[in-house]
Symmetry: D2
Subunit: 261 residues, 4 copies
């Protein structure tokens, strides 16, 4: 079965900015989803901010393996209940790919636990993306470096937790560097942040960019059943202990009582 | 100057449970603080849930290098505004040591971005704590293993992010294991989780336990000025670029405009 | 195409120790290879110490995706030239699964750069293996814990580098713990160490053990072309620089000269 | 007591290249040692390739807390016995700071277990070094970025193991990036690689460079007694087990026998 993937798009600038609308007439999410569907192993659909529950209902998320997230202008417009729902599914094992300005998305900040801040400059300058982890599955088939002739600059310090692995680092014409491809696991869910994708440039029409996102979807996917138990803190009764033990000393809880939260 | 440390205690069971009150007549926080003050490099004071703003005012946190946190029965009683204040200070560089049942403290869950769940059993069973990273500063002077004859069991899976380093792993008589000493950095702040410390046992009267907490305070401390800029996402104007660049292509923002959040 | 896997066996105790020979009449390597071949995605063959070049010729390694290594009694008998050959292929992207007493194999020590020492006891005691990273591909389908009723004890401190991720931790009846499933990448090659497998016990007849090794083979495999360039340190001539630069200042090397090694 | 530090210098180009001799008339090692001795917490001496046992006798290494290594032209001239001696001391807890072309030093390659290869260009181009981990002790007091106007370029892929933490990343005028400040622990020893320092430029006269090396010496130092036991693999006899167990099943070794290596 193909990897059930949702590309979530904020879907605002496509409608209010002529340049963005010109590059992505059907929305950035549609372009990205089409690029993913070019791979038979992936089955990508889309969801947007404007849909009911932002298109991310409980039932739909349950049937989703990987979520790709692009947002920028209205992070605050994403309902907190939907954010928690997404975060829970990541903990249970849904993969999450966060793109570009999604560094400030509520779902990403919630999972990172850090400010996720960075420097930026919108000057259409040259970005060179270097592969610094050529053995990583996300780098499969990616050259040692490639160029995006016009991109927004993101510069360090990028306030995220030290990643499991750093896969890409960007060089910018204006003198900055940025860790552009980073991996984490949170609960059972794999997370990949990928920097490029400013909406006024045709970044998601770039074949190498799309190759990386396809690789990331495959890497983030695990065919595990969801780890539903991750939200619980079960008491293991003394008489169910794996090795025989005798209860000793004082205790707070009665047998079978729930713990505090 | 000594490391300015606050030991925060929930301070409930000491007053409502005779066993806990008997072991820690002045409160667990006082016993822990006294143990830290045995080291001239540390200057520990206390704060409790019951104090105004839980004893963690803006001004006091500004003057704090490391915060030690013990809570259990009333995690929900900690005000969200204080949680955010603590989290911001950790991002700026304040160290944080989370003890035992603090795994479910709001500040810890907020910084980890994961459920922080685990298994547990209150049977006064034997815990053996093994040093699996003897070169780590937190393990300085700690034997290869030591015993707490009566402790609550915590068992895996412990739903926290993969740590920077695993320092201690516990063996329990009932058959479980647990990663008992784990480190992370979030922003500029060092975080250490240390498992032992159930309130019905005299764990914080154990000298090795206190040695580890003292080591952790010293490890978590950095003499950096607070990284106040970590909360900002500054625009770098084109004419201030480090290397001369020319603005090209379309853009969303006017010069000097704030980014979206 | 299936993952081309070699199971390398030292193949000594099977012939000189009746107990080992009874459990593994065709050799441990054959039993392990048969277990791997139960999965259609894997195509496992075997190689042994006694074969010419230990069965690991240049040509055969070139055509190998993942190497599984079991050795114990005669680590010193493995030729250094073959060790270097294996190490080079790992750097280029061949996966490596090191089993049990392979912790002291030359190939493993060479790739880790550490002593790889540990404590041990041969008492047929109970081992409980806990999954501490249930979202990891190597843990797919593995229960939260399982038992090997008779195993050799390995105890911490296990002198290996901090892993990328810790997947399994063992509990032993005699009081020890051990990080039993650890991952690293070296160059482009994925490495997994898995603890169980003392030759006097029927460990590789255990279905969960074999499930883990199958998972590990799949995890370690990448369909990348070998990263042959990893052994080189190429000079990038000034006139081939990606961005135009002018040579300035004094230099040691003439244009096109090789660097020092 | 001050941190007992040796600055090891290859000490060749200073004598055969007029430019290098002009910048470092007393040798690079002397300049670096003088910079370290500007900090009262450090007591730095020097050693060179030309000295007996390269100045790194058993006795001297035993009395050393941190070793700083600079070599380039004659890595092959370092005796293997001295390499092993240094590596053992790192495993036991001696800190190691490897500078610039030391990426190909035998001691570094031996500890990393990888090729340690990279790209390079000697054009005196501009290097900008960015702090990507401002909370790390090695970044204390270091600005968010600083410039070395003339340096040799080192470019990715840098074939080293994923570090514990990435502290600095370099931007080069010619279009490359490089992970310039990386940390690892091997055994009980802390290791820091720091990129700058081509001998034809006055890099070690730069105050920020020296501040970083001073920070690194302090970070690498631990006041632990040496972990001498790390080289052993002790048998734990059944009757000395921490928890009472009964020997069961067949075994290879007689009681008290040494394990295989």
């Amino acid at each position: 079965m193909a990897i059930r993937t949702i590309v979530w798009g904020e879907n605002i600038h496509e409608h209010i900015n002529a340049v963005v609308g010109g590059i992505y007439p059907d929305g950035m999410h549609s372009t990205i989803a089409a690029g993913l569907n070019g791979d038979a192993a992936i089955e990508a659909t889309t969801a947007t901010l404007q849909e009911s529950e932002h298109g991310l209902t409980e039932a739909r998320l349950e049937a989703t393996d990987v979520l790709v997230w692009w947002g920028h202008k209205d992070h605050g417009g994403v309902q907190d209940a939907v954010v928690e729902r997404v975060v829970r599914r990541v903990h249970e094992g849904m993969g999450l790919i966060v793109l570009h300005s999604g560094h400030f998305a509520k779902v990403f900040k919630r999972l990172m636990g850090t400010p996720c801040s960075l420097k930026w400059r919108e000057a259409g300058e040259r970005e060179r993306i270097w592969t610094v982890n050529p053995g990583h599955p996300i780098a499969a088939g990616v050259p040692e470096q490639f160029v995006l002739e016009n991109e927004e600059m993101y510069g360090e310090f990028f306030a995220v937790p030290e990643p499991l692995e750093t896969v890409f680092i960007s060089w910018f014409a204006g003198g900055e560097v940025f860790r552009s491809g980073l991996t984490w696991r949170r609960g059972a869910g794999n997370i990949f942040y990928f920097r490029p994708g400013h909406e006024t440039y045709p970044t998601y029409h770039n074949e190498t960019v799309m190759q990386i996102i396809r690789n990331a979807v495959k890497w983030a996917y695990h065919p595990h059943p969801p780890l539903k138990g991750i939200h619980d803190a079960p008491n293991v009764p003394v008489d169910k202990a794996l090795e025989p033990i005798t209860e000793r000393g004082p205790k707070l809880h009665k047998a079978g009582e729930e713990g505090y939260r």
